[in-house]
């Protein structure tokens, strides 16, 4: 409790972190299911939207790892 007695803003911060954390948790629990309307198609890089080769490990456009292609074995 000595932290809370300092009056340096930490006590306010703890309350705020708890409030925001609760909000995030509740938001996560309430996430809705449905079609992924806005997400990039699986043949495009989710980072930069460049077209991905079917066997690409990394995106040629941005260098991020390409998402695993479900059509690829393993």
């Amino acid at each position: 409790m000595s932290v809370l007695a300092h009056g340096s803003g930490i006590d306010d911060l703890i309350v705020l972190v708890a409030a925001v954390g609760t909000f995030l948790l509740v938001s996560g629990l309430r996430r809705r299911r449905g079609a992924d309307a806005g997400a990039p198609a699986s043949d495009r890089c989710p980072y930069c939207d460049s077209p991905l080769e079917p066997d690409a490990v990394r995106c040629d456009g941005c260098g991020f790892l390409a998402p695993r292609n479900p059509a690829r074995p393993g």
């Binding site: 803003g9 306010d12 911060l13 925001v20 995030l24 992924d36 309307a37 991020f64």
Partner: protein, 440 residues
């Protein structure tokens, strides 16, 4: 003058005209009102596809395209760099030469603000860029031994930026004579080696920490050089949606954000009391842990918000976090202004004095060697209001950019739902920033 004069200023304690909580409440309210207003009044992406409009004044065109002027500016940058490096090796006190003021105040703080106002002036001034050009480390004159690995992305810049903020905020080295000089030479050696390995342009774009960092801040500015090198104008912030997603980009932004936050945190009475009785080694360890912890905390809050947003659209959180990373850049600027505004205006005056005697040899080159620091140039109350305004505007800028990106990526209803968690994170950042600033 003592080392304390170069301690990073937060403007000191100020007797607030209303309770601190009310400022936080007002700032958070402004953020939420902005969020709602955007939802109602900003239905289509406006910043994503904006292109700069060239300024067609003939005289400006000839100035901007002047190769001679370009090299004059580069030469000036190189001279300042050379003098600063020489000064940094002088075995005298930190404020007896121009070096610490130049690096930690005029360069790190002043240039950051200049970039946001005038665009990427660092690209024209960078001594490392100039060195690379003088050494002709560009194709076709030079063939780099290897192509820059795309998988590395901006990671070298992120790691080097962390090295700089650790040096400044956690290590005892800035108070050691010559340490700054050694650091400048070491960083220059790394940069030249990087340019030699991958070519000038590739290394400056990915590995030169200050170039990448200042380049991001320059995208806030309404001024930019277009593809033909001419001055062009664009809406404020509209350069940021064009930041290319690259590995390490998010890390670099989080390092910038977390390190400034830690600088503020380390000046609170809570931190000072907790570390007052530690030995120097333990103090460095605590500061290193605090710096890393703050950066990780910022990353965790942002990643958590993005994970919630990703849940809304059933996508992976990491690509989403990268695609929204540019929305944190105005907050980086806000923290720089809020934390260092008074530091720049007050301690920055030491540079006016030292510029006439940059090496501490008793010279008076420009007649300013007798300049006395005016401590009343800005009051604590003014500083506080600037801090509040910077924090609020920076976060509103972040909310605007995130909203614009969300409605560009998703249908409107989903776009709004992805933003709730990010708004919560922005609220947390805003309140934390104000509480830290007012708790010094």
């Amino acid at each position: 003058m003592t080392v304390g004069l170069l301690a990073h200023g937060l403007g000191g304690r100020v007797d607030l005209p209303v309770p601190r909580g009310l400022f936080v409440f007002g700032a958070v309210t402004a953020l939420i009102v902005s969020f709602v207003a955007l939802a109602v009044l900003w239905p289509e992406p406006r910043l994503e596809k904006r292109r700069p409009r060239p300024i067609r004044a003939a005289w400006l065109r000839s100035v901007m395209s002047s190769a001679v002027l370009g090299w004059v500016v580069r030469a000036a940058g190189l001279v300042v760099f050379g003098v600063t490096t020489l000064a940094a090796f002088r075995p005298v006190g930190p404020t007896d030469t121009i070096a610490p003021v130049m690096v930690f105040i005029w360069f790190w703080v002043g240039l950051a603000i200049l970039q946001a106002v005038f665009g990427n002036v660092w690209a024209a001034l960078s001594p490392w860029d100039t060195l690379g050009r003088l050494l002709q480390l560009d194709p076709p004159a030079y063939r780099p031994p290897r192509a820059y690995p795309k998988a590395l992305g901006r990671w070298p810049a992120a790691v080097l930026l962390f090295g700089f903020v650790w040096f400044e905020l956690a290590s005892p080295l800035p108070e050691e004579p010559r340490a700054l000089g050694i650091a400048i030479v070491a960083y220059t050696a790394i940069t030249v080696a990087g340019m030699a390995a991958f070519g000038r342009a590739a290394w400056l774009e990915n590995g030169e920490a200050f170039g990448v960092y200042f380049g991001l801040l320059g995208r806030i500015s309404p001024l930019v050089r277009d593809d033909e090198g001419l001055l062009a104008i664009r809406p404020v912030l509209s350069g940021l949606p064009h930041v290319e997603p690259r590995p390490g980009l998010l890390a670099l932004i989080v390092v910038a954000l977390g390190s400034t936050t830690f600088d503020g945190l380390s000046r609170t009475t809570w931190w000072l009391d907790a570390t007052a009785s530690l030995t120097q080694g333990a103090t460095v360890a605590a500061a290193t842990a605090g710096l890393l912890g703050t950066i990780l905390a910022v990353a965790a809050v942002y990643s958590g918000a993005m994970a919630v947003a990703a849940g809304v659209v059933e996508a992976s959180w990491h690509p989403l976090a990268v695609r929204f990373a540019h929305s944190l850049v105005p907050i980086v600027l806000a923290y720089v202004v809020a934390h260092y505004f008074s530091f720049l205006l007050i301690e920055g005056q030491i540079g006016l004095n030292r510029i006439s005697d940059p090496l501490g040899l008793g010279w008076n080159l420009f007649g300013t060697a007798g300049w006395r620091v005016n401590l009343t140039i800005v009051s604590a109350t003014t500083t506080w209001y600037v801090q509040v305004a910077a924090i609020v505007l920076g976060h509103i800028g972040g909310v605007v950019l995130a909203h614009d990106r969300a409605i560009a990526l998703f249908d409107r209803s989903r776009a709004m739902r992805t933003q709730y968690a990010l708004l919560a994170a922005m609220v947390l950042f805003t309140a934390t920033g104000l509480l830290i600033l007012s708790g010094g």
